[in-house]
C-alpha cells in the first residue's frame, strides 16, 4: 500500500520554504534565496527519479526520459500527466501543465516568471507578492532538473506562468 499524507502537509512545507528563504535569511538577496530553494527541489527530484525508475527498463534516449517525466513522474506527484509536450528537436522541451496544482491555491501576478537566472532581481524585489510567486516555481524547476540529472541529463529548467492557470516548464538540455 502506498503511504499517503494530506496534501496540506506538502503545501505547508512549500509555503514555509519560500517564507523562510525569502523573508528570512535572504530577504534582500532573492537570487541567493532562489538558488537555495532550487537546491532543495534538486535533491528531491534526484531522489524521486531513483525511486520512480526502479522497475523500468533503462531509457535509450533523452526523449524517452522526458516522456517519463511527463507521464509517470508527474502522475506520482500530481495524479495527472503533463498536458502538452513540445520540442524544437534541438534539446529544448516545453512541458505544459494546464492547471499546475502547486499554484492552484495562490493568488498570482501573471507578470512573473522564474528562471535559472533572474534577469533583474531589483525589479522583482519591488513587488513582494510577485517575487513570492516566482519563488514558488524554483522548487518544481529544481525537482525536474534533479530528476533528469540523475538520469544522466544535464539541463537548465525554467518556468513560465504567463498563461495561468497553466504553467510551462522549459527544459534546455546542455549539449
Amino acid at each position: 500500500m502506498v503511504r499517503e499524507v494530506s496534501e496540506s502537509c506538502v503545501e505547508s512545507l512549500l509555503a514555509e520554504i519560500v517564507l523562510s528563504y525569502c523573508s528570512g535569511f535572504y530577504a534582500n538577496k532573492p537570487e541567493l534565496a532562489a538558488r537555495r530553494i532550487e537546491a532543495i527541489g534538486f535533491q528531491v527530484g534526484h531522489q524521486l527519479s531513483e525511486r520512480y525508475t526502479m522497475d523500468r527498463p533503462r531509457f535509450t534516449d533523452n526523449l524517452e526520459a522526458i516522456k517519463f517525466i511527463c507521464k509517470d513522474f508527474w502522475s506520482e506527484l500530481f495524479k495527472k500527466q503533463i498536458d502538452n509536450l513540445k520540442t524544437n528537436h534541438r534539446g529544448t522541451f516545453v512541458l505544459q501543465d494546464n492547471r499546475f496544482r502547486w499554484l492552484a491555491h495562490m493568488s498570482i501576478d501573471p507578470s512573473v516568471q522564474a528562471s535559472g537566472n533572474i534577469q533583474d532581481p531589483s525589479a522583482m524585489a519591488e513587488n513582494k507578492s510577485a517575487q513570492a510567486t516566482g519563488m514558488h516555481l524554483y522548487f518544481p524547476c529544481g525537482i525536474i532538473r534533479g530528476a533528469l540529472s540523475n538520469l544522466g541529463i544535464e539541463c537548465a529548467v525554467s518556468a513560465d506562468i504567463s498563461n495561468l492557470p497553466a504553467c510551462s516548464f522549459v527544459i534546455r538540455i546542455k549539449a
Binding site: 535533491q43 534526484h46 531522489q47 527519479s49 531513483e50 525511486r51 525508475t53 526502479m54 523500468r56 527498463p57 533503462r58 531509457f59 535509450t60 540523475n150 538520469l151 544522466g152
Partner: protein, 143 residues
Amino acid sequence: MIVCLAVVGHENNPLYIQSFTESDDALKLHHIVHCSLDVIDERVNNPKKSSPTINEAFLGLLYPTENYKVYGYLTNTKVKFILVTTDLDIRDADVRNFFRKFHAAYVDAVSNPFHVPGKRITSRTFGERVSTIVKSFGLSSAS
C-alpha cells in the same frame, strides 16, 4: 554463497563494496569487480540487437571464472550492482530476485536526506538489510 557485492556509481566511483567471506581473498574479489565494470560497459554499449530485454536492468552473467560466477545489474541512474558468488549451478531467477531486493534497499539508502550522491553509502540500516538479503539468497526458490 554470495562472496562479494559492489555498488559502483556512473563514473565508476565505488559506492559500496562488501565481502562476505572469511578467507582473505579481498584483493582478488576487488579485481573481479573491477574487471566486471569493463564487461558491463562493453555489454551496454554493444547490445545484442536481437535480445528482447535490451534495456533491462538485469544484465545476467557477466563472466564465469574457475571458482566464481559474476552477475551484473545496471539501473536507470547508471549505477552498477555486481554480485560475485561461488554457487556455480545458480538459477537466473534467483539472481534477478536478489537484485530486485538489493535495488530496493539501495533506493531507500540514497533516499536518506543526509546521503550525498556519489559518495560511499555508510548507512547501518542498509548494511543490515543487505546482510539479510544475502543470507536469504537462493532459499526462496519458489519463483
